[in-house]
Symmetry: D2
């Protein structure tokens, strides 16, 4: 029967690598034999396992090995990664290795080389002894692309040795939980990230403005708590609408009641900014004097407003080409260590697609399904909060003040 | 063709009585002829309409008349209400008039008599020239019950002449609205109700405790803002659990993380109170020294804890007989002018069943479906808020302080 | 006190025009006097009202008139529409008239001219005695744009004189309703639209494929029930994934269980189609032999795949420029009389933005909030269904077979 | 430092016992040393671990041991269970052992005795060498109750060695999954349970009737697929309303549209059944001739209708005392091997409270939060389906036909 030997080490029991490998082998109809097992005798000691996996057919064995790799196992006596040239611009070889968002290395000759800029659903290009992750839109004909599953090592983020707010996903999504201390610890994490030179990215949907939380977000930007802002046309348009008309989507932000003809306000606001030439110009000329976008321009942070097909207008700064928007977001995420997603689904998913698993992520939404969807990144670095976004940003601001 | 003449007066256009009557007649396959129409020439003047409705069949006409009555019309040349004796204890005559929660009068002889204690899905008993609403469980054999649709006058609550927070139902359920001013106006309404001698009822689910909002509710009770508290075993048990163990459903209320073996805490808390003989006794002996139930006992407000089949325990004060629980709630609601329902579905629906349409009602839940369901009472006296209950109670407390 | 006289006629009571006008005047702090009122004496007769509205300030009066116009009133002794030149490409004059999606006319000289291609949040351009609706992105410097509120007549879609499935919005969104007959009547509507030469547009999200309903949609396209298909990269990618691998987002469509490494399938499918040059080419060469996209290519229907920033790949046919995607969708919607939106939020909202109020629209989703959001178009031509999309498409197919 | 030695065996890695024990020790601030570890060398071989756990304080060590016990560990050199007499009727000793729903044994002298009728949040009574689980309401003064954590052995249900529909909880709740094959496999499970003499319990909410699925449920009862039916007053009342009036909560079941005055139908149906003396009598006299309750009476299955405080009426068969309702449900669940919960929250949670972890459970609801809540029973024997209940019951009936 076709078989192969795999090894893994680390906190392989409580980080779930070993249980998942047992699962994988059984689910794929294979069998395993544990050849060697050294258990970490105390919480800090690493464990080690060498296991022979087998399957009735060679193709089944290949599937098992590929799946075990994704859980952190490496094939013993494995060979180097295979490489093929990309056939055309924007097309990978048919059997390209499709990346996950976990830390990954490829074996070039006898050396394991870390894959740079890891991102899921991409390919790996090898060049000058370096390996880097590339989206299918960015591959060029002739690029040397890793194919198959040989010579791949994935290192899933391990369970922390101390109790912390990130990673208690299953238990933390509920709206029926106290959130005070969690928000306080998030503020503490923000301080640590900033102290360590890391960058913080905020992804925000228009409900931030609709709920009257724009002031809190603006304050956070003004005080330097946000390095990167991802949003769509709607957040910016309603923020500017609220500065010009006191409404958001036609709702009076003072009393929550609709204003007659208020539904026109956002398109009027957009038209006015288009007339000015853009948000930056509107700030420069004094047309726009406060709000989220105003603070972002003043503070000079990196902003990517990615368009969508449901946009009205849009505002001049909105990137209407989606490939270009992804490229700018990818670029802006370099160095980001914490990403806070507030009441956004489209932009939050887009951001999640681009982030490595190791980046700490906070997802806040009043809809539990959205939180579950966003927080399910195969990562223990995620914190989900089902709550009102205004309440969240208000408390977070208070903790940061 | 069978026909009848109906009349109505008041703000019959913008309170939707007339549009609905036109709808009803057309939907039931009938026809109408407007015989007389005097429109209110300004906002404060009342309108009047006399309309002849007709239908191909007498039974269809009866359905039309009955439906128009529910919208506020009265049959011209109508007769007095018909009355039949209840055949048995707990059983109405087959054709009993089934009540709505709108103000209702019945014609006894030539006199219109208001129905006391109006409540939906009940019958009307006539006795000594009085008419009162009675649940089917409480009717006695021989009681004189109104049957059919003759001699009934319903007076739907009319649209207010001024803009106010209650009644903007369709537009106010969204989580994507600013809530500050609405909560401030609710606090103002509470002050007015109390100043006028009206009572305030709070219906609260266990999420009030789980989210860490128990302190805010306890404060409101201690300061006299709550006259009646409706809840279930869970609210009381988790409140007491939080006083004894610092947890709610085993979740540490300081950090939101689960405590090992914490799931046992609520049943231990219940057992301890059962050992003491009840909540009141636990307060008297100093076993229970703080929290929602402690404040309710100290303040001497009316509390009804209605049981349910999913209860653990329950606590000794919980009314485990559902008919008895409804009777106590009905009794407690006398004089209540404002009812605030917080993160409860079962108890909030039960309360809504017992309330007249004219009572102001506020429904707060993080789930928009629950808010929609609760707020849909055929009444303009309802305010729905989709938000985090902790955030709501905190802000409301701040506005009342 | 500044005042003006407005008139309206039609089924102004049960179509809610009159009640809403009373509301509007009172909410805006104005007053009204009903000068003349002729009520339709029977269901088919039209009513007529002439009302003088007044407000303490001229600007308040203008707001009232503008709001009453949106409900179908016309100012007596009104003047023609005012026109200004657009200052720049892509910018309207500051006071441009912002359109609704209701049938609208503008008065040019003494003549009322219908606005062509009506769509909300746009402007109106007058040229050669014609008036047409134009998005802000498409206006050119010097175009003659209607400004202000004079000379505007809006004609809201009136309540149907017969009971029908469209327009019972408030009561039809619930998941707790029987849906058989409604789906049967929808099939009947589809037959009537087709018989009358109208076009049918389907907007579909990827859940159509995930739930295994791709076969039903493919069948409907093959049988000619769909003239226009709007979707995103995901629907097409998972449809093609399901043809190549038997999975959708890595889930086996036969048993609903995840396939090991299945998450790679969609990006492999996309890469393969990119290698072929496109979906059309993949069909031509026999690489793609079945499924929704295959049937759409074979049948030659109009397809717009609009991109989004969360897309993987994307497929070559996906329009990555959002302005261009909107233009193509706008073009494809000409002649569409029925639009069915299935389990899509982004694309359904985008389509709803482009549709006139008079187009019949069906919104199907398992999430009640999505249905509510989509169906709330200020139109009585909407039907919302909260249900499983697979179940819906299966039943609809059966009714059409 | 206080320490103790624990042991466990079985499929302790992939059934998550060992990973959870490592988690528990670290989360509680303790330490561990693995003294012996024999890993199952192939999927069928059992593993064994002996671990010394320690903590700075004796009380902390006790918490660790108690928590490890819940994951299946047993203390080496442990002592027999301690026993105390219940102080009063309805009250456990203060330190009573609070049960989980996992298979549990207590050590009496040197013998491990299985606890009968295991159910969570109860106590264990020892009598004549037997141990049984007892709710707090049913304990009597003087009963010998297990206290503390010594002498307890919990045996969590282990991961199945083969792939099956139950237990893939995390991945199966989504509405965006194909459900055909899962429903077919559920039908197969029902056949196996019945063939093996096991009983099947159905818990059903009123949406079964509202959605028009009553016919499917009635058919399943008539054909013997349901041994036990748990529901509330609403399911029975609307089922009978639908037989008498063709409506459910006033909605016409043929077309889904509201019937004028239809909201009265359910209370009229209830009143008529009250007049007849009960459902059974109504069937006997021919007043009730079809529907779910009719089939249940005819088939003679066990029915428990548990009341709630929001009930109208109720029907005579409804158990209005909650303690009594729980006792009847507990009794009816003896021998139940499969429990299907359809569109019910209250009754489903109540049933879940009473079920052992080993009972297979299926939760069906259109609301994902409900499914998540119900399916989260710390058990691998659960299957959650987010879908339309009518669609589910229709397909299940077809698979069983």
């Amino acid at each position: 029967m076709p078989s192969a030997t795999i090894e893994m080490s680390g906190h392989i029991i409580d980080s779930m690598m070993l249980p998942r490998i047992f699962d994988v082998v059984m689910d794929l109809g294979g069998s395993f034999r544990v050849d060697e097992f050294q258990v970490g005798r105390n919480p800090d000691e690493r464990s080690f396992a060498r296991i022979t996996v087998s399957h009735g057919e060679a193709s089944g064995l290949q599937r098992i090995i590929a799946a075990c790799q994704q859980q952190g196992a490496v094939q013993v006596d494995g060979v180097a990664a295979h490489i093929e040239a990309a056939p055309r611009d924007g097309v990978f070889p048919d059997t390209f290795y499709s990346t996950s968002n976990q830390p990954t290395a490829v074996r070039i000759g006898d050396v394991w080389v870390d894959v740079e800029d890891i991102e899921m659903d991409c390919g790996v290009i090898v060049e000058d002894g370096h390996a880097r992750c590339v989206a299918v839109t960015d591959v060029r004909a002739g690029d040397r692309v890793v194919v198959g599953h040989d010579g791949i090592k994935v290192s899933p983020v391990e369970r922390s040795r101390s109790k912390e707010i990130f990673g208690f996903m299953t238990s933390s999504v509920s709206a029926e939980k106290p959130k005070h201390l969690i928000i306080r610890e998030l503020a503490q994490t923000m301080r640590e990230v900033r102290a360590g030179g890391g960058r913080i990215c905020m992804v925000a949907g228009p409900a931030v403005i609709h709920t009257g939380a724009g002031g809190h977000l603006g304050w956070m930007i003004a005080r330097g708590w946000v390095d990167v802002l991802f949003a769509g046309n709607a957040l910016a348009a309603h923020d500017i609408e609220s500065q010009f008309f006191g409404t958001s989507l036609g709702i009076d932000l003072r009393d929550g009641l609709p204003v007659e003809s208020g539904h026109e306000h956002h398109i009027r606001a957009i038209n006015r900014i288009r007339g000015a030439g853009g948000i930056r110009e509107a700030v420069a000329t004094g047309m726009l004097r406060s709000g989220v976008m105003y603070e972002a321009v003043r503070q000079g942070i990196t902003v990517v407003l990615a368009g969508s097909v449901r946009d009205d207008g849009p505002l001049p700064e909105v990137v209407v080409d989606m490939i270009e928007a992804q490229r700018r977001m990818r670029q802006a995420l370099r160095g980001v260590e914490l990403c806070i997603m507030c009441a956004s689904m489209l932009h939050a998913i887009a951001t999640g697609n681009l982030l490595p698993a190791a980046t700490k992520t906070v997802c806040v939404d009043i809809n539990p399904s959205v939180v579950t969807k966003l927080a399910d990144r195969g990562s223990s670095q995620t914190l989900g909060l089902v709550t009102d976004v205004e309440s969240f940003l208000r408390e977070l601001s208070e903790c940061l003040a």
